[in-house]
């Protein structure tokens, strides 16, 4: 539906001829969305005002939360929206804007910067500028014409880029042109905001269909670059992660953490009144919790590392019942265990502080664990201090668990690195390095003949892997090659060597009609890296 239609029918519906019921139902929805996609905050606030004045006029106002939300909240638009569609160039444009935004100091000539930009362009997509321009214009036209396009308002980043690029291309591609570009891109921020206002024509209504359209394309449109382009894949982390923080930030962070120390007394008070404390915010919170724990010298305390990969609920309960309370047996029934803990603690007249670092840890995410922890937290003599980091952590708890937990939320953003919680091995990048290291260490332990056979297979694979349906080295060919180099004397010896490789999961033998094939199970890139290291070490 067109937005103009909408607003017209809107005003019609608001007239008293219509039943108020219908009016309430239709009233706000479309308006909301076009206001929402105005992304300047002042606009949005004015939307709120409109809304409230509407409400007074309206006959049957839907009751809305009044005090729940305030103006300094994070806009929901920022956190919970449909994923906007992005193109290959968004990232590049962004970087361009950032690098351009660095105020050119007198020492830094624009030439240097443009050089960098060119380099960036070079590094990423190499589409000629006029082609990009053309496509962009086409897209914009499309967006403006068809009302049900699947481009969200938030991807209107196109428009400023267009202004960027058009000014860029209007100049010649010579150095002078580049200088002009520099000027425009320093003012890009301003232009961007102005252009935001203009994009109002490209209205966008959230429809459920759009979600499916967005997700229907199976094809991944990102570039095909891989990390193999980097020269040094197998870097080892030597430095402590703190080294990456700038000195000013380090001071500010320690100041920030200092302020959290002032909350400790309050936490004590709140724990005493039967609430439990939940800490959130980015950065490791271990340090803060640790300090809090140290203030309680006379209370028995249990520290649980929720991020510990093989943690079980049983560990925690055993620690309490057996180690602390000197009981011999942990019942399998949760209710019984809790009962025992509570009565024992009451008899001893002590309180138990349970500290859970990352109560949203992988091993604690099951409903059963959370129910058990909630039961534990609800005990009168158990006080819980827990931290969360994952963005979806609050989804772990339903209202019956929450009512047992009785959490008070505290924001203790610290920006400290997650030293223990998130070890650096994160993704394929590092995993490739790991494979390479493993390969190297296996290789080093081989006999010379076995090394030679391995090299033959690797070389063969590197030469031939581009063939379609590459199956591996035919065993016959491998045998003849190995015999030529005096690496093995019989088929049995060769097979013995191969068995060793197979045991290390380096290779696989595949049976085919025309004999067996041997294939290395590693990535080509890893193999290439491996041969490079061989050449480097000269073995």
């Amino acid at each position: 539906m067109n937005s103009d239609d909408m607003s017209e029918s809107d005003s019609k519906l608001a007239t008293p001829d219509f039943t108020p019921r219908r009016a309430t139902r239709h009233r706000t929805k479309p308006k909301k969305y076009d206001e929402y996609f105005e992304s300047s905050p002042t606009k949005r606030r004015s939307y709120k005002n409109v809304e409230s004045s509407d409400e007074e006029i309206n006959e049957e106002p839907l009751s809305k939360p009044k005090a729940l939300f305030s103006n300094d909240d994070v806009e929901g638009q920022d956190i919970f929206r449909f994923k906007s569609r992005h193109t290959k160039h968004d990232l590049q444009n962004k970087v361009k804007a950032v690098v351009g935004n660095v105020a050119p100091s007198p020492t830094k000539t624009p030439k240097k910067n443009t050089h960098l930009l060119q380099k960036l362009n070079h590094g990423n997509a190499q589409t000629p500028k006029h082609v990009v321009d053309k496509i962009k214009k086409k897209i914009i036209a499309k967006v403006e014409n068809s009302s049900d396009s699947d481009y969200s308002g938030s991807s209107s980043d196109f428009v400023p880029d267009k202004s960027d690029e058009s000014s860029e291309s209007s100049g010649s591609d010579s150095d002078t042109g580049n200088e002009i570009e520099m000027k425009t891109s320093t003012g890009a921020q301003v232009a961007r905001n102005k252009n935001r206002m203009k994009t109002k024509e490209s209205e966008y209504f959230v429809k459920s269909d759009n979600y499916f359209m967005m997700n229907s394309t199976k094809k991944i449109t990102t570039s095909d670059h891989t990390l193999a382009r980097l020269k040094n894949m197998n870097i080892q982390e030597e430095q402590s992660p703190c080294d990456y923080v700038t000195p000013e930030h380090r001071i500010k962070i320690s100041e920030l953490i200092e302020t959290y120390g002032q909350l400790f007394d309050k936490w004590l008070f709140e724990l005493n009144e039967g609430f439990n404390i939940l800490l959130y915010g980015i950065g490791s919170k271990r340090n803060i919790v640790q300090r809090f724990q140290e203030t309680l010298k006379s209370t028995p305390c249990i520290v649980v590392n929720g991020f510990f990969p093989s943690l079980t609920m049983k560990n925690i309960l055993e620690c309490i019942v057996i180690d602390l309370l000197d009981d011999s047996h942990v019942s399998s029934n949760m209710g019984d265990v809790l009962c025992v803990i509570e009565t024992r603690l009451r008899d001893l007249d002590t309180y138990l502080l349970v500290v859970v670092h990352n109560i949203d840890g992988v091993m604690l995410r099951s409903g059963k664990c959370q129910a058990a922890l909630a039961g534990l937290a609800a005990l009168e003599h158990v006080k819980l201090v827990a931290t969360i980091d994952h963005i979806n952590a609050p989804l772990l708890w339903d209202h019956s668990k929450l009512s047992k937990y009785k959490f008070l939320y505290y924001d203790v953003t610290s920006f400290l690195p997650y030293e223990h919680e998130a070890p650096g091995v994160a993704h394929t990048h590092q995993a490739g390095g790991l494979q390479l290291a493993a390969l190297n260490s296996v290789y080093r332990s081989l006999t010379n003949n076995a090394k030679g056979i391995f090299n033959i297979i690797v070389e063969y694979q590197l030469q031939n892997h581009k063939q379609s349906h590459y199956q591996g080295v035919p065993l016959k060919e491998l045998y003849s090659l190995a015999r030529e180099r005096f690496l093995c004397s019989s088929d049995a010896v060769l097979r013995a060597h191969l068995t060793e490789f197979i045991d290390h999961r380096l290779m696989r033998i595949k049976r085919a009609d025309d004999g067996d094939y041997v294939k290395v199970l590693l990535d080509t890139e890893v193999l290439r890296g491996f041969t490079h290291t061989l050449l480097d070490t000269g073995t």
Binding site: T222, L227, K252, L324, L379, I391, A393, P394
Partner: protein, 719 residues
Amino acid sequence: MESTVSVSKGVFLFCNGFNKTKQTKKKTKRNPFEALFTNEPWYTTYKCNWERIENQIKDLQNNTYSFLVNDIVNYVKSCEHDEYNTHEGIIPSATLLTGVNQPDHFNQFVILINKIREDVTPHVALVNSQDAQTLKTLVENVVWQLIRGQDVLLKKNFLYYSDEMDYKPKLKKSQCTMRSLLNWYKNKYVDVSPRKSKHSQQRTLVIILPDFESFNSNVLQDFVMIISSYSSLPVVLIFGVATSVSALHKSFPYHVSSKLLIRVFHSHPSPVYMNQVLENIFLTHKSPFHLSGKAFELLTDVFLFYDFSVTGLIQSIKYCMMEHYYGDNIKTLCCSQDQIDSAIANLSSDDLESIRQLLSFRPFLEVQDCQTKIGLFEDDNFFREVLSKEMHKLHDYIHSFYLCVRLLFNFVKDLPKNIFGKTIREIYAKCSMEHITSTQPFKDCMQLISFQSQLKLVDNIKNALKEINSLIKIDSTKPLRSTPTKNNINVAANELGINFSKTIRVHMMTFLRQIENANSESTVFSSEADTEINMETENVPASRYKLKEKLLRATRVEKIHSEFELIRSRFVSYLEEILSKGLQPPHKQTFNEIMFFGDVASVRKQIVGSPRGALHTALSNPAHYLQCSCCNIQSTDSIMASMPDVCIAYKLHRECGKHINVYDWLQAFTAVVHPEPDIPTDDDTKIQLRFQRAVAELQFLGFIKSSKRKTDHVMRLTW
């Protein structure tokens, strides 16, 4: 820190001098959580006030549930008397429709159990769904609790624990089967000596399953079938159902439900209960602590939009109260009226100084003359005197404020359109935010009242009188405060408080009498006019035009004000007058900070919490937390090289679609962090490491996950 990091352990114990065998010297032990505060005056005041409120809540709960509980108990009793046991194998059962806010119902069931124990039978078992995952555990739990009878109390009953629990169970849980139950029952009741064999000795066994929907329906079916086969045991089942009776029918097929004799009981919906709690406990002048309009709205919003849990609401109010009192000795003044003077006497001069700092003290100060001003600042004793006077005034104000809120509610509640809402809490929220009598909606209301019929008005006034009377009755039990003798500061002191309500009562009574007496004349007039018109329209049936004209003429005729109308308008203006006097918003009062809690912002963060929002803010605008000079940005979209690595990586990842090419991401990161064209390789590795760490952190936070669909790609998981 290192003591709690290990590759083989995830749980660490710090005994901190905890001695397991320490049973003897109980006296020396102190609660370390409380130790810091026990001697603080604010803490004692808080403790005492909260205990009072808690007791009130408990009483209220008993009252509200008593009706329902009595019904159920009567039903159980009637089952005992064999009314229903005529059919073999049919189990009488009660279904209690509780509503979805399950955590709240716990108290309800506790009261029910206590009542049943008192009145019917000591053998009650309550089994929650989490304790009965299988049929075996369910039967064990039920039998165990039934046999232990009196001496075992509810498991999971943390609030009302009793100390009589002995920890040497006479029979093991694994021995608890239906057969042992049967044997036990026979021994206890059937095979007793004939002198005891009265019929009433046969005690019923009550089994309560409070959260029916969470049970595994197969387990329940089997359980019901088993019980029905033990027909010699007089069992009564009570199910707590959160949704509707159909849940029962859905989980029980015919052959099971035919064994049950179901009777349904309805409990109050939770908003009703919430309104009761608020109106009877917190929105009265007796409550020592009051919520400002904004805080009040926050809490009711949390209730209405998040959890529907009255326990949660009470906890939030408790938290507000904690926040109100925490670490602030001047809040000791926030107590009942008869304790004020002693509380003021106990204040130190530092405390007095901080009272002088209160914002609401300023307007008060401005109207004083120079001499008193100096006196207020210099002379602590003089200040104490003034403070006491003002605090009493504040109490008087609160007294009449709540009276007026109730009066207003009484007159407004059944006006069309519900301008002020349908409950006292809504009116309270409105009144405490602004001076309501000067607003348009209030004027509309008054206008509507001035159109009300005589009958209605009489009714309303009678109700209002009832309200006032009950208020005065409560207060008259207490000795009245002696009027201040040297009252030269403010003469208005006498206008509010109990005297105020008394004058209102007198006026209301006169109005009531007048309106009732004014009855005859006006009704005669109106009925005559009506009949006249009716007659004529009947006479002239066809001409619509003429009718229209007639009606028009009728409107033009000058209305003669009847006596009733005159009195009514006088009454309305009187009402307006008293309300505008009584409904001054609290934030205009001197020293209101002491009695009213209004710091919504801080409480909201703790009660509601926004982990996601905090992450977003920290990542997109780190300067908000760090307060550093280097990272000030114009819009949240922009990136600066000086930001923490994880922020840069986060912002760059927001520019990508669902899939992110790690290589491109790294290049972009490098370009932002290190915008020099000739990069030495050594730095390059360093940047890679930084990037790696940032990506790992983002993965830990749940923004991305690694993807197998394309080499060196990660998936974006969020907004």
